[in-house]
């Protein structure tokens, strides 16, 4: 059972603001999904390696080379708030 207090804690970790209705609904939803997931507890996983990559691909390397992105304008246009070509954000200190 996920309490409303836990929902609020998870929401803060996930940086999601929630309405009171949502807090109540998610408490129910998450609890029922977690109940469903509980069945994994019956699987014997002793000595089993966790999957890291499903087809077993390892250490794919490439040259560490700087390439210029040709559409910088396209990126600047997407800034929610732009000042002199920079992305303006709220104070971080």
């Amino acid at each position: 059972m996920i309490s409303e207090k836990e929902v609020k804690h998870i929401a803060s970790l996930a940086r999601i603001g929630l309405s009171e209705d949502e807090i109540e609904k998610f408490s129910k939803d998450l609890s029922s999904i977690l109940d469903f997931i509980e069945q994994l507890k019956e699987v014997d996983i002793s000595g089993i390696e966790p999957t890291a990559h499903i087809t077993g691909l390892q250490n794919k390397l490439r040259e560490d080379k700087i390439e210029n992105f040709e559409n910088k304008e396209g990126i600047v246009k997407l800034f929610p708030e732009e000042k002199n070509g920079y992305d303006k954000v709220k104070s971080v200190l």
Partner: protein, 487 residues
């Protein structure tokens, strides 16, 4: 269908501009009801079609998909075109670059008609979680087209595109393909580059074709597959032409079936599956019973790993670098977090509060919970171990058989609103498709006719799953059914 249209183009029976215009006419006639498209790119499409026509009139050779109209799921970036992933948080997002698959089909000369609707950030099984309204099933507008690639499936099904691209994380290509009576392939994990696909659950996501025929799927796969330095998980495919493997000949091939899957079906679906099995027997395939003892844990395994990856991937949508930003000037009621200035924190909280939908929030929170301190071993690590067991089941099964035959879905298309109240009911939609994503194997849904369901005639499909990187045999078996379907 692609080959026929290609021949018409080179024989000058139709021009690419005429063909493209026909499809836009179909869209304006039908899409008011179906709502498959979010954005149309008419100007660019007609410009590309004109280029192809000029090439043909100059007597130059054209490629197999050159000048043929297609649709792209709206979580795949097309440069300078709005790309929303059906989320309000990307309402104003104009992609600054092309996804690798888009680059490839552009090089091949495809005409892109527009961007298709999906469940928000590809989370759902019905296209109902789209922030821009649900897509309707072309066979019955009161029913869902499936999801998440519901727009891409409906567009092909209703002849509003010759072919389309979708993406599949737990069944998102195959389930809508089955609901809309088209072919849909999820390639092997790594077969197709995901660069430019909005990352959702990175250890499962694959882009794949949705088409009218298996041959068309093979043609598109040959074009979009291959190694890409921009996606570290992509694998080389040595320039395979998958369409060359469609011989129609499957004598002696071994097809595995899972008894419990068939027994779990309702009468109508079971009858369809039995017919499919009979047809394969007639074609000379050997039907073998196989066991996948851990497959029943695929769904709970998925609903730990997938939300965990979602919570991490979707952290980037925070109103800082792009997308919508919100601030309601009120203090948000959450647990206290130290270390962050309140105004910045409020930007994050409000941006995600007002611009993400309920299903997306639910999965982010589920994943955040599963990965949080004290729960990681019990949930995420355990799920990754069960994942290994499921993969081993398939390794064992594929020592015995060439492909595995299952239903794609438990029922035909359900009604709009039927499953939106209970998230678990919606998740159970993916029960047959999800194992292929867990194991990373390729799987295709193939239409097998219409069935009578709740007083309606609705399409049904079956699924074939293949060995890792063995799309050629998988598609060969699918194709053999299709070409012998009318006999």
């Amino acid at each position: 269908m692609i080959r026929e249209l290609h021949n018409k183009l080179i024989n000058k029976e139709i021009t690419s501009v005429e063909l493209t215009q026909q499809y836009f006419d179909a869209i304006s006639k039908k899409d008011g009801d179906v709502h498959a498209y979010l954005t149309l790119t008419k100007e660019e499409a007609l410009e590309q079609a004109k280029k192809v026509d000029e090439k043909i009139s100059r007597g130059e050779e054209i490629g197999i998909i050159e000048g043929i109209p297609c649709a792209i799921k709206d979580n795949i970036c097309i440069k300078n075109i709005r790309t929303t992933a059906s989320s309000k948080i990307l309402d104003n997002y104009i992609a600054p670059y092309d996804a690798t698959v888009v680059e490839k089909i552009r090089e091949a000369g495809a005409v892109i008609l527009g961007k298709t609707n999906l469940d928000e950030f590809a989370m759902g099984s019905s296209t109902e979680t789209s922030a821009y309204g649900a897509t309707k099933n072309p066979y019955d507008n009161e029913r869902v087209p499936g999801g998440t690639s519901g727009g891409s499936a409906a567009a092909v099904s209703a002849d509003m595109a010759v072919w389309s691209l979708g993406s599949d994380t737990g069944g998102s290509i195959r389930q809508p393909a089955s609901f809309c009576g088209v072919v849909g392939l999820k390639p092997t994990y790594g077969r197709v580059s995901r660069y430019g696909l909005m990352a959702m659950a990175s250890s499962f996501d694959q882009i794949g074709p949705m088409t009218k025929t298996v041959e068309d799927t093979a043609i598109i796969l040959s074009i979009i597959s291959g190694k890409d330095n921009m996606d570290a998980t992509s694998a080389p495919d040595f320039g395979k032409k998958y369409e060359d493997y469609l011989t129609g000949e499957i004598k002696g091939m071994k097809i595995g079936i899972v008894k419990e899957y068939l027994e779990s079906l309702n009468k109508e679906m079971k009858t369809e599956m039995e017919k499919v099995i009979e047809r394969y027997k007639k074609l000379g395939a050997e039907i073998c019973e196989i066991e996948l003892p851990n497959a029943k844990y695929a769904l709970p395994t998925y609903y730990i790993i997938q939300p965990s990856e979602v919570s991490s991937n979707l952290a980037r949508f925070d109103g800082i670098k792009y997308g919508m930003r919100a601030d309601d000037k009120e203090k948000t009621n959450t647990a206290d977090l130290g270390g962050l200035p309140r105004t910045l924190l409020e930007t994050y909280l409000d941006t995600r509060k007002y611009n993400l939908g309920a299903e997306v929030k639910r999965r982010i929170m589920l994943g955040t919970y599963a990965l949080s301190s004290g729960y990681y071993d019990a949930y995420y690590l355990r799920a990754q171990k069960v994942r290994t067991l499921i993969r081993k089941d398939f390794e064992k099964a594929f020592q015995k058989v060439d492909v595995i035959l299952t239903p794609t879905t438990p029922t035909p298309a359900f009604k709009i609103g039927e499953k939106t109240q209970d998230p678990l009911q919606m998740y159970l939609e993916d029960i047959f498709t999800i194992t292929a994503n867990i194991a990373g194997i390729p799987a295709v849904s193939v239409p097998c006719g219409m069935i009578e369901w709740e007083g309606k005639q609705l399409p049904a499909g079956f699924q074939l799953m293949g060995k890792w990187f063995d799309e050629e045999n998988l598609l060969c078996v699918a194709h053999a059914f299709e070409v012998n379907c009318t006999e």
